[in-house]
């Protein structure tokens, strides 16, 4: 089923609710590094990858598991966009 909620909102809600446990929208800035800010760890990033695969039908290859693709809301959005175009 096609997601009707904007991807940015979907991803922000996921990080805020499931990793930062807050509804304070200002707690997450879209170019904030998940690694540098201690928002996600190794397990968290694997969960994000599973989420991308389920929600956005994006298959993340091993060599795509890099910060440039996954380490912030903006990087995730750009990566999803690139994957959709390439599909």
């Amino acid at each position: 089923m096609q997601d009707t909620i904007e991807p940015r909102t979907t991803l922000r809600t996921l990080i805020l609710e499931d990793y930062l446990f807050t509804d304070d929208d200002t707690a997450l800035i879209d170019d904030m590094s998940f690694l540098d800010e201690g928002i996600l760890d190794s397990m968290g990033i694997l969960e994000i990858i599973m989420f991308l695969e389920e929600r956005f039908q994006v298959t993340v290859a091993e060599d795509e598991m890099v910060p440039q693709n996954l380490d912030s809301i903006n990087n995730l959005l750009a990566y999803i966009e690139r994957k959709k175009k390439a599909a």
């Binding site: 990793y19 930062l20 446990f21 807050t22 998940f34 690694l35 201690g38 928002i39 996600l40 760890d41 190794s42 397990m43 968290g44 990033i45 694997l46 091993e62 060599d63 598991m65 890099v66 910060p67 996954l70 380490d71």
Partner: protein, 492 residues
């Protein structure tokens, strides 16, 4: 006896151009490194007396190495702290260790806030250094305290492991011997330097004049595999989670880097993963399975790679200079094959817990370290760990004290009782689970997680939360945590 810094200085005099540390695009030679250490150490000695404690809140970097060894140059005791710590965690360490200075970057606002609140001078590493040398040579002496590593940050029972220069040297010399480390070696380090394993990897390699390459986070494991290939290192070290990510989440096995050695410690690795890792390695790579703990500086035993198959599941034999014995509940040494607590004796055993004589007295008895681990020795003297007598949770590269989380959560007014323990996890070995008794609601569960997220480092935040009507206890009222861990039902 020489200190580690004196050894480093000697290498710098003999081979000043040799590369000591590589951090992303930057590298520093032994000559340059010692120069920076002396400048920073001199700046420190101008600002705090010999023997004072200094908190370091610095990520793995060349700056960390300069700050650590700079402390030793100035004759002060380094207290390295997780740079991802929350304000509350840094505060607990600071309140207990009473540092003369906090060294960090002003960008680490948590460290800066704690310094300001407690009126402790704050040194922004990025602005420090370059002061004229106040002491012509290292102030540290062999038997002086070198390092305090906190393994538990509870306010009631803080455990800061005090390691002397003699402790560090004893463990380093043993490790160098069995790993056969030389100046030709180079290691990619992904382990945090502020913990004993990462600290050990750093110091053993600098001790022999080898090269330490600071690796990326295992959060992005393919980068690490790429770095192993790009830097052509001879060694790599990790905990079981590191190895699992490397083998299962990267193309490591399809083109294994030509490492000379790979070391694993930080918790038992499953037989299955051990075999898969070994099979993924290049033929020339030796896999060293090891065991130890912070109270032993780092290392207690190693499994000779050629006996890995024969002794699969074993933590190995004592490292040079260490003696082990297994003690039964009656305090007597038990026989071959019988399970008891693992005790260790050697020059690497910690000096004491900082400011906690009660914990020291119960942990180090007549020189013997009570590890809190249960195990047995087979007829060849190989150690097999069978579980832990203590309640510490081992998750990834970290050791977490349940008390610290319980203390925090118990402060919420809707919580009557809380118990925290480790539950099995395929990737991390264990993760933190919290069992709650009180006013049950999804909003309250969320409040618990939110509080933990704000107050604790990420690895301490419970992955599971479960409400209970009551907690299982013994007749004397002691919590039966193993029953809780085995009965987990709901995911947070």
């Amino acid at each position: 006896m020489k200190t580690l810094l004196e050894r480093l200085t000697q290498i710098a005099q003999e081979s000043p151009e040799r590369i000591a540390v590589v951090d992303k695009d930057h590298s520093i030679s032994y000559g340059e490194l010692v120069g920076e250490i002396q400048a920073f150490g001199a700046a420190l000695s101008n600002r705090c007396p010999k023997g004072a404690t200094v908190t370091l809140v610095i990520e793995n970097s060349i700056r960390y190495v300069v700050a650590l060894y700079g402390c030793w140059y100035a004759g002060v005791v380094a207290v390295p702290t997780d740079p991802h710590s929350r304000e509350r965690e840094i505060e607990q360490v600071v309140v207990h260790s009473k540092p003369a200075l906090i060294v960090s970057s002003a960008r680490k606002s948590n460290a800066l806030a704690v310094a300001e609140r407690h009126g402790i001078p704050f040194v922004d590493f990025e602005l420090a250094g370059g002061e004229k040398s106040a002491c012509a040579e290292s102030e540290a002496r062999y038997l002086d305290d070198a390092l305090i590593i906190y393994t538990s940050g509870t306010s009631g029972n803080p455990k800061g492991v005090v390691l002397t220069h003699a402790n560090l040297l004893a463990n380093i010399e043993s490790i160098v011997e069995y790993l056969e480390l030389t100046s030709e070696d180079s290691v990619l380090d992904v382990l945090p330097f502020h913990y004993s394993y990462g600290n050990s990897v750093l110091n053993t390699h600098l001790f022999v004049g080898a090269k330490v390459v600071i690796g990326s986070s295992m959060m992005y494991p393919q980068q690490v595999t790429d770095e192993l290939r790009r830097h052509k290192v001879t060694g790599f070290s990790g905990v079981p989670t590191t190895m699992s990510l490397l083998v299962d989440r990267t193309d490591f096995a399809s083109d294994p880097p030509p490492l000379r050695y790979i070391t694993q410690a930080g918790g038992g690795m499953s037989k299955d993963l051990t075999i898969r890792l070994r099979e993924s390695l290049a033929e020339t790579t030796k896999l060293f399975v090891m065991y130890g703990q912070t109270e032993a500086t780092a290392r207690l035993t190693w499994l000779p790679p050629e006996r890995l198959d024969e002794k699969l599941g074993s933590a190995g034999i004592p490292i040079p200079g260490v003696t082990l014995r297994i003690e039964g509940k009656d305090g007597r040494t038990v026989g071959t094959g019988q399970v008891g607590e693992v005790l260790a004796l050697g020059d690497n055993i910690m000096s004491r817990y900082w400011g906690n004589p009660e914990a020291t007295e119960s942990t180090v008895v007549d020189g013997w370290l009570h590890t809190g681990d249960l195990g047995y020795l087979d007829m060849d003297g190989y150690l097999f760990i069978q579980g832990r007598a203590s309640e510490m949770v081992k998750t990834g590269a970290y050791r977490v004290s349940p008390n610290e989380i319980e203390e925090l959560v118990a402060g919420l007014d809707f919580i009557d009782e809380v118990a925290v323990c480790g539950v099995d996890d395929e990737l991390l070995g264990q993760v933190v689970a919290a069992f709650l008794v009180g006013d049950e609601s999804p909003a309250h569960a969320r409040e618990v997680l939110s509080l933990c997220r704000r107050s604790l480092s990420l690895h301490k935040v419970p992955r599971y939360i479960e409400w209970r009507k009551r907690l299982p206890k013994t007749a004397s009222g002691k919590l039966k945590k193993h029953v809780l861990a085995a009965s987990r039902e709901i995911r947070a």
